[in-house]
């Protein structure tokens, strides 16, 4: 159908239910006879549990059961598993301390679950939890990332000095040599601030057990229900897949935080069997703050060596990354393979070396949050580039241009283990400069000055790797699972199509986009294609949605399954048209004998497959349903240039974003409206990181920014109107030519904003400002600069 296929900005079909309030999120589901679970969490960051007395709680009104670690241990419930193993540079595996579902003998962060109370009503469960008597012995606390190593207190006995692993990538000797030859070295010390993902739907889970069939059902707010089924079934509760259904219905945003397997999923599933009643749990926002995995939290020193023409010779990065109190599902992969491998950026820097030490602290576990490792890499590199430009006295765009990997260098193998298949970095730069009216900046700056304001411009050129791949490589890097994706195309007898995908949509609009892919390829009405996702009982398998993989990997699986359907259709058509299958072409929704007008519509072939009265039954099974497992050949590498212009009031330190421009290369785009929406959302989160958001702990490990009154979520009046554009170099190795687009905005925007702020403050001698660049920090920097200048 013209106007609905690949490339069309059609409106979303999922909107009707969301706009009418008829979406079905986990907390909207209530099961007959359900009970309510409240999780008693630690209010201390680090303490020994000497004794837990639950006897009073068990007798409280409405209480059905109270469970602690002792009960789980008695039932041989496993710990929360980690899905990625990293090897240290000395060859030792990472330290992997136990991660008990409920605290065993010790609590290690505020929010660490200690016990659960299950009652007839939520209020009864909460009231009863207050009757649980715990005798704690408080222990010294490790909070700060930089000083966590060897600080005298260990979060885990297994990790004295709090080191989880000490990892490296790149050629250290080559980097040392290059620095010796350098004409100029730019160095920087920076912090990538800890963030809290804050999907608007708090996590929730309902466990249900059918005694008759022995089947467990878990309703959960997950980005990847099959992964949860695998982890929880195989490693925690010992439930075989065929007795465990994991269903993630509508999910209200994830941004990474709903990838991971959480204790509450285990608790409701296990407890439902113990009490033989459904058990429901929904996080309150205050709980989300101290139990959803956090993101970022790096402390970095980096140096970049240049020749006299500002061409980069080498990069050296030393990072300490905070993993929190326990290893979350993908925690170890984020500061390593998703960070170190992106340090080449868009530049042909010949030698790169990165060392990452990860630490345990008495804080919430840290894992993937939109961008996941790539924003950290991009921030280091793009801050260095703009700082170097200032030191050389050349333009921010110019220093990047001089260092870009050139179009004729693709495929380009970086010194940090990845190969970019394609790109045109200068094209994005040119588009961004044009959209930002870069040449008019000086005039705008002069106008701002007349009004007593400081104006600055910041450029950032990011690259990211999406859709971790191929599985064999991921395995070699430490992944404990494959990273392919699965799709089934079920052509129904009358020609409508159910598309079963292992990815999960929680805001990305897959129901619309993936239908476009299928309808476009088959030349049929988009409304006859329906997407099914989120339910392990309906979909063969899948790895879920994260790392901007869904279209590039999941869409590729769908595309491959459609090809199989077409292939079978050709054979059926050949029989019906009395021709050779080799002579059948499929175009515009019809199978036609080449060079003739004899053809069969797609619907006729579907019907013939299910009503095989005239059918090649000796060679071909009836039915028309095909499944594909698509294992990607490489990552996809979206890239782009972002330009931010800020105006700062020196009297208050308040930053206003005067303009924000994004030019991205996402390869082929299926639905431009949805892609633009993804970019907007990513930009808002990146700008939020740069200006507003921070997970702030005090020295006792108490989260100070633990509510929306304290954690500064971006609001409508904090955000500018973004100008976005795209260029296109199609991905060379997946059938759609598509790259990921979900994380780009969050990756490229923080350095663009900070580069702009530092540019605006340059006259005060400011060379760096840490995120979030709050008015207070900026005002202090201006005051310090003024004092320093007065002293000269």
């Amino acid at each position: 159908m013209a106007g609905t296929g690949i490339g069309s900005a059609i409106k979303r079909r999922e909107d009707f239910r969301f706009l009418r309030g008829s979406g079905r999120y986990t907390d909207d589901i209530s099961l007959p006879n359900q009970t309510h679970m409240h999780v008693l969490r630690s209010t201390l960051a680090h303490a020994k549990i000497k004794k837990i007395d639950t006897s009073a709680a068990k007798k409280a009104p409405g209480v059905v059961a109270v469970f602690t670690c002792e009960d789980l241990d008695a039932a041989s419930v496993g710990g929360v598993p980690c899905g990625w193993q990293i090897t240290s540079r000395d060859g030792n595996p990472m330290v992997e301390p136990p991660h008990p579902v409920l605290a065993r003998g010790k609590v290690r962060h505020v929010g660490d679950p200690i016990a659960v109370v299950i009652a007839e009503s939520l209020n009864q469960a909460k009231d009863a939890a207050e009757l649980i008597d715990i005798d704690f012995k408080e222990l010294p606390v490790v909070v700060d990332t930089k000083s966590a190593l060897n600080n005298g207190t260990s979060v885990h006995d297994e990790a004295p000095g709090n080191l989880c692993f000490d990892w490296e990538l790149g050629d250290a000797a080559a980097v040392v040599d290059a620095f010796k030859k350098a004409d100029h070295v730019t160095s920087i010390d920076l912090v990538n601030n800890r963030l809290i993902p804050n999907a608007m739907e708090p996590r929730a889970a309902i466990g249900d057990y059918d005694m008759g069939s022995g089947e467990h059902t878990l309703y959960t707010t997950s980005q990847n229900p099959h992964v949860i089924r695998l982890l929880m079934g195989a490693f925690v509760l010992g439930i075989p897949e065929h007795k465990l259904r994991v269903y993630a219905p509508d999910v209200g945003g994830g941004f990474g935080s709903k990838i991971f397997h959480y204790a509450e999923e285990i608790l409701v599933t296990w407890a439902a069997k113990q009490i033989n009643r459904p058990v429901k749990w929904t996080a309150e926002r205050s709980e989300s703050f101290i139990s959803d995995a956090h993101g970022r939290d790096h402390v970095t020193h980096a140096e970049m060596a240049f020749d006299k023409n500002a061409k980069a010779l080498a990069l050296k990065v030393d990072t300490i990354a905070n993993l929190g109190a326990y290893l979350s599902t993908f925690g170890p992969a984020i500061p390593t393979w998703l960070h170190g491998t992106l340090l080449a950026g868009q530049y042909a820097t010949p030698a790169i070396y990165v060392n990452v030490k990860t630490v345990f602290t008495n804080t919430v576990p840290v894992d993937a949050y939109r961008g996941a490792g790539r924003p950290e890499a991009s921030f280091v590199l793009e801050r260095l580039m703009s700082k170097a430009a200032r030191e050389f006295g050349i333009d921010q765009a110019e220093i990047r241009r001089r260092n870009f990997v050139q179009p004729d260098q693709f495929p380009y193998a970086t010194p940090v283990a990845v190969e970019y298949d394609t790109g045109n970095f200068q094209a994005n730069m040119d588009q961004a400069l044009e959209m930002a009216d870069y040449d008019g900046f000086e005039a705008r700056k002069a106008k701002s000055r007349k009004r007593g304001k400081l104006r600055g411009i910041g450029v950032a050129s990011y690259i990211e790797a999406c859709g971790v791949a191929p599985s064999a490589l991921a395995g070699a890097l430490g992944a404990r699972a494959g990273l392919y994706e699965v799709a089934t195309i079920r052509v129904n007898p009358t020609g409508s199509i159910s598309v079963l995908t292992g990815t999960h949509s929680h805001g990305q609009g897959h129901e619309t986009t993936f239908a476009q892919v299928v309808a476009g390829k088959l030349g049929i009405d988009v409304d006859s294609v329906e997407l099914v996702h989120g339910d392990t009982d309906k979909i063969p398998f899948g790895m879920g949605t994260y790392g901007s993989r869904s279209l590039a990997v999941g869409g590729a699986a769908i595309s491959q399954a459609v090809d199989k359907v077409i292939e079978k259709g050709r054979k059926i058509a050949a029989h019906l048209l009395e021709a050779s299958a080799d002579d059948i072409v499929f175009e515009n929704g019809a199978f036609t004998v080449k060079g003739t007008d004899r053809s069969k519509a797609f619907g006729e072939i579907a019907l013939a497959a299910y009503v095989p009265h005239s059918y090649p039954i000796d060679e071909l099974e009836p039915g028309l349903e095909e499944t594909a497992f698509y294992d990607p050949k490489n990552f996809t590498f979206p890239a782009g240039t972002y330009i931010c212009e800020v105006e700062i009031d020196p009297r208050t330190g308040f930053t206003e974003i005067a303009s924000f421009v994004a030019s991205d290369d996402f390869g082929n785009i299926v639905n431009p409206m949805i892609v633009e929406g993804q970019v907007h959302g990513g930009l808002a989160q990146g700008i939020g990181q740069a200006l507003l958001e921070n997970a702030s702990y005090d020295e006792n490990g108490q989260l100070l920014s633990g509510t929306y009154m304290d954690y500064t979520m971006p609001r409508a009046d904090d955000m500018p109107t973004f100008k976005v554009g795209t260029t296109c170099t199609p991905c060379t190795h997946n059938p759609l030519g598509a790259k990921g687009c979900g994380e780009a905005g969050a990756i490229g925007s923080p350095p663009a904003v900070i580069n702009a702020i530092v540019d605006a403050l340059g006259e005060y001698g400011v060379t760096h400002i840490d995120m979030p660049a709050t008015p207070e920090k900026i005002w202090q920097a201006i005051q310090a600069g003024t004092r320093a200048q007065a002293a000269e």
Binding site: R17, L19, G23, R24, I674, H680, G681, R715, T721
Partner: protein, 154 residues
Amino acid sequence: MPQISLEVNGKSITAEVEPNVLLVDFIRRHLGLTGAHVGCDTAQCGACVVHVNGDSVKSCNTLAVQCDGAKVTTIEGLSNGADLHPVQAAFREAHGLQCGFCTPGMVMSAADLLQKNPKPSEAEIREWLKGNICRCTGYQNIVKAIQIASGQAA
């Protein structure tokens, strides 16, 4: 237990509720209208916004007993029948929603804005929306949707 009588989406309802029951819990659990969502516990996010006697209120910050005698409209009652309310239609047109969780509150809030200020400027829209948090859209398309719904095509 106190008894309350109120009108919800045009239907008269009489119910007994504990005095500490929040309006949002009453709507979601007692009436099964799950369109209003709970996104926080500090009355900041606005996912729970409904109309009480024509004004947008945060139903997580209102007791059910306070609504005795009131007319309550939830997202489920905003439009009649199959058609979308102009604000709902504009949100779809402008791609002003992604995961959909903040959407019911956002739409109810926006509908109230246009009732009070039929032609708001962009700055007025952004100011009004301060009480509704969206993590997906970056707000741009929500602002655009409200401009479209107010006849100020963006």
